[in-house]
Symmetry: C2
Subunit: 704 residues, 2 copies
Amino acid sequence: MFAPSFPDETENGNEERQGPHRMSRGGSTMAERQDRPPSSIGQRKVSRRGLLGTAAGLSAGALLASCSVFQRKEETPKLGASADEIIKARQLTPEDVTAALMTYVPSGKYDEYLMFSSTGHGGQVLVHGLPSMRLLKVIAVFTPEPWQGYGYGGYTNEVLEGGYFHGKPILWGDTHHPALSETNGEYDGEFLFINDKANGRVAVIDLRDFETKQIVKNPLLVNEHGGCFVTPNTEYVLEADQYSVPLGGVYAPITEYKEKYRGVLTFWKFDRQKGRIVPEQSFAIETPPYWHDLADAGKGPSHGWAFWNSINTELAIPGIAEGRPALEIATTQRDMDYLHVVNWKKAEEVIAAGKYEEINGFKVIRMDVAAKEGVLFLIPEPKSPHGVDVTPGGDYIVVAGKLDPHVTVYSFAKIQQAIQAGQWDTDEYGIPVLPFEQCVEAQVELGLGPLHTQFDDQGYAYTSLFLDSAVAKWALGKPYRDDGWKLVEKLPVQYNIGHLAAVEGDTTKPAGRFLVVHNKWSVDRYASLGPLLPQNAQLVSIAPNQPMRVLYDCPIGIGEPHYAQIIKRERIKSWEIYPEVGWNPHTQSTDPNAVLKVGEERIERRGKTVEIWGVLLRSQIRPDLIEVEQGDEVIWHLTNIERAKDATHGFALGGYNINLSLEPGETQTIRFKADIPGTFPFYCTEFCSALHLEMMGYFLVKPT
Amino acid sequence: MFAPSFPDETENGNEERQGPHRMSRGGSTMAERQDRPPSSIGQRKVSRRGLLGTAAGLSAGALLASCSVFQRKEETPKLGASADEIIKARQLTPEDVTAALMTYVPSGKYDEYLMFSSTGHGGQVLVHGLPSMRLLKVIAVFTPEPWQGYGYGGYTNEVLEGGYFHGKPILWGDTHHPALSETNGEYDGEFLFINDKANGRVAVIDLRDFETKQIVKNPLLVNEHGGCFVTPNTEYVLEADQYSVPLGGVYAPITEYKEKYRGVLTFWKFDRQKGRIVPEQSFAIETPPYWHDLADAGKGPSHGWAFWNSINTELAIPGIAEGRPALEIATTQRDMDYLHVVNWKKAEEVIAAGKYEEINGFKVIRMDVAAKEGVLFLIPEPKSPHGVDVTPGGDYIVVAGKLDPHVTVYSFAKIQQAIQAGQWDTDEYGIPVLPFEQCVEAQVELGLGPLHTQFDDQGYAYTSLFLDSAVAKWALGKPYRDDGWKLVEKLPVQYNIGHLAAVEGDTTKPAGRFLVVHNKWSVDRYASLGPLLPQNAQLVSIAPNQPMRVLYDCPIGIGEPHYAQIIKRERIKSWEIYPEVGWNPHTQSTDPNAVLKVGEERIERRGKTVEIWGVLLRSQIRPDLIEVEQGDEVIWHLTNIERAKDATHGFALGGYNINLSLEPGETQTIRFKADIPGTFPFYCTEFCSALHLEMMGYFLVKPT
């Protein structure tokens, strides 16, 4: 169960020897070359061994003598501090001690899994390591972030412009559901997709360099929620509206809600070669103005199908001042809402047959056509559902109705039979409504406020219970288990759990072991840091044949994760440096304006345009002196010619809102008008060498 | 040494019982009120005790039997998993085991210390907990951040506008040196100051709500580095230029560097009552165009004085293309640069006597006056210095020259004697240069690339060695220790260490125990996440009578910390909710436009202006329906009337780049022109209750 999947000591030792060696490769400074002692690498190795023998602690010896691993290694345990002294002084319980040992990752060893989570209205993506729960990286997506040079000059400005709304900057997002690209229903570690609930957008992140490459605005809706979810080979990225608006987001009086407001189920076509979503090859399906919530794609037997649930099938509209009930009441009147069942393979045929309309340049299958062609079906689902999750085998669809104590399990086979049988009523918009009883396999009572469900490798499902502040572990039925459709155990969590994620829990082959629960409230879990509290992510052990256990509390003080996916570390094969000097990360190819060698930097003046081809290396930015006239248009190409891993240079131009992060080999271009006269230092913002502070130049703007 | 300073079990137990109770106070939804089982709180308590008794692990029993704490408690240790099985499977060394036990913080217990660090070109401040090294919160400062609603409508837009440059938005910063406010030379936990190197700005953060309240642009310089550092009672916040420019940042040819470019030492006056910097009561001292680096304020005997070091006393200028040597070479020719010694009490008298000029509305003491009046002295310092740090007693000034293997220790008493003696030469600008030999107490050889120095409670100093990638521990001389001015030990760290911070290490009473080293390169420490690597912060034990040890590697994947300060948790007395309903965090007082009760929300139309007074509570935003005409000016007041801790509501208006975070009691106002026609849902962005998704409304903009 705890088989270590870390790089073993040898590999690690090698990496450590490589480390400083790599660091001295490439353009290291005169100072470094002269001053680094030849012995320093050796020193580091010796002293690390040295670290294993320090002042003694007798009872610690006793403590660890009981650990056969040390006896076998015939080590005399010598600890920096006595372990039981620490346990006593810090009042650690036996549970605390094993949790500490299960989650601690020593220096230089790697976490086994990577968790990608959204940050909600932070607009970004977080990458945590498991089991340590350390935040390894923040990926800027919808919100500008200058450490990555994201949105402060360079190509990333164009990426953000892709998500503008009617030409107006939208410089934040409400990220909800990250989706890793899949091949045959397994994570392939190549791309990550994430949605923006607030503004109806989807972003594409390339996991070779962990940078956002594309933001697309959905031209049919303003606000969404039911994304991102991918089909088993990433043919499509799914996205649906949350709060209905007239198609295209145009104005219509709220009193015409029923007639003019509509739902939208979107299938974004993804081109893996280009690494881009292709709007021209994408399509959407019009639905009644039900509010769509979460979704999942079919797999295995249900490949070719997709599932969305919905709330507000009451078609309630706001207007407290006008005498209408509050939405929280008006939208929760019916005991049943509708699971939307979509045959997207059929939808492709309908599109191919030209049975669509173009709205804002986007292909839309109208709902009457969707109903007639067998593209869209509804099934009743209890009550105000939130999560819909397809089992690993693709045979069942699990729906959690947040105002119903059960999860409802639909059988895909039974749904197909009901469709074949052709006995159905329709809703008031003429969409087929399949009989609930004919489609349901089981209902399992779990507790209060069930939201989302994940799966492990033992045939168990895990459902978050918001109102209980608990995780329910329950057994799936055949073919997963013989003791199926039963609640097994409940684990209290702190507090108000929303989403939860299991290791590779959305794939055809979940890996089990760990679950991360994303609690919406932390209340008393952390020291007081003002009225805005962090969310509380908790690492939970779901090891086989053991009770679930909370192992670690991880504060999220930088956003509100709504969902996460957890992938085995080794599936991610990212670049350590860019493939060639002069690499443009936007085109993922070499840049014609790259300067490849020191001495080839230059400045050209053409009328009111000044074009600069510059290079960065430890510890110079060349050219280091640029004078322009006020009002000149400046085009500035910058190439980091380093080839050493981690030899990133920043480029900041004070007073002009410009900062780039140029990783080894990277080329970027900034364009701006030199409209403020004065004396502006530019400099490297990444501490890159002993003479980093001297890595600067002056940009002079002569007043006209 | 490990005396636990956590809230004890009782206190913690209470908090836990309070937790859910608090949560159900205030406007909890009908659904919550109806659906939360009365037993759920009990459940949580029971089940937490339940967590302490789960499946057995025999040899773990043996392992923990050796820990007297469990024997005394007469517990039969029953662990979720066998501890030595874990140790074996995860290949943990004895050192790893104790490090895990020293750093793990169990669920619901609190970290002992809080570390405030900069994020470099990320523009923000991070708050980590020690010893767990968990990131507890990101405080938005110079860069907009929507999770906190910072810069997306509301009062925070005005805070950011305070830092605009010639009226142009500057929406990022290069934060370097956080400074906690001090009373009698100790951290008082009230305010935090942080500088922006890229654009010459300083920000004020109020630690009652952990929000940035003020950004001031230094009107004399473009770029800075030597800030923020505070005087012992926070009379002033120190800031100095890095790269010299003509005063006010105006244009002058680089060839007139010597005559027209200047340095600036700034003393920002802080008003603790207002919680604001007061530019009108602040002043600056003109210096020769040396590049100023780090600074520190005197304390105790040296109270009333301040110290800055400098580089490029060669007065080198860029121009590789013009045949000049690269700056990294030209700026490192001299063996000595200049420590700047400033008598700021004297400077106050000079200002009071009117012997200053106003430049861009800011009081400036010209350098000839500063020299004549005894405000400014120079002392030679070796070579290309970086850090200058005053010892806890205020009696010594420690300078680290990054191209010199020593730290140089100046005696404040000797400096005073040298000034009294009056025997000095001047630099070419007429500034007194005190004789090196007369001012130096000691030089201690430490190794290659010394940068910064911190202090503990045992009379030891800790200096970062960038080129050695090591920390040097050395003994201070009398009155601190009898075995003084000696290197004691060196600890290798991974890799290229920059700043380091000890617990309360900048105060008159350092607390020892832990040191955090901020390494610039992580190279092989973490799983590959693309070419941009996280920085590596390492927690180091500096426990008395033990060798230093790296306990924990903490990746910083959201910026580059340049400096940090570590404070005892209990010194921070922040608000858990805002003091009253209708609180305006900008004025830190109640807001006249707050709506205090449900039902008092309203909409007023005056010509082309629509003013809305709204309230938020679980799960409603009232009013929930607003219709305006295209082109209307909208003024929208929003009050979160919740009084439950953690009951934050977000407010997002899709398509209009608006998102607020409204903590319990908070009132904010947004103003915008409704220039895009259409149908725009607005909603709560913080998952606040079971019916959070139903907490929305429609904002309709009718086309004209």
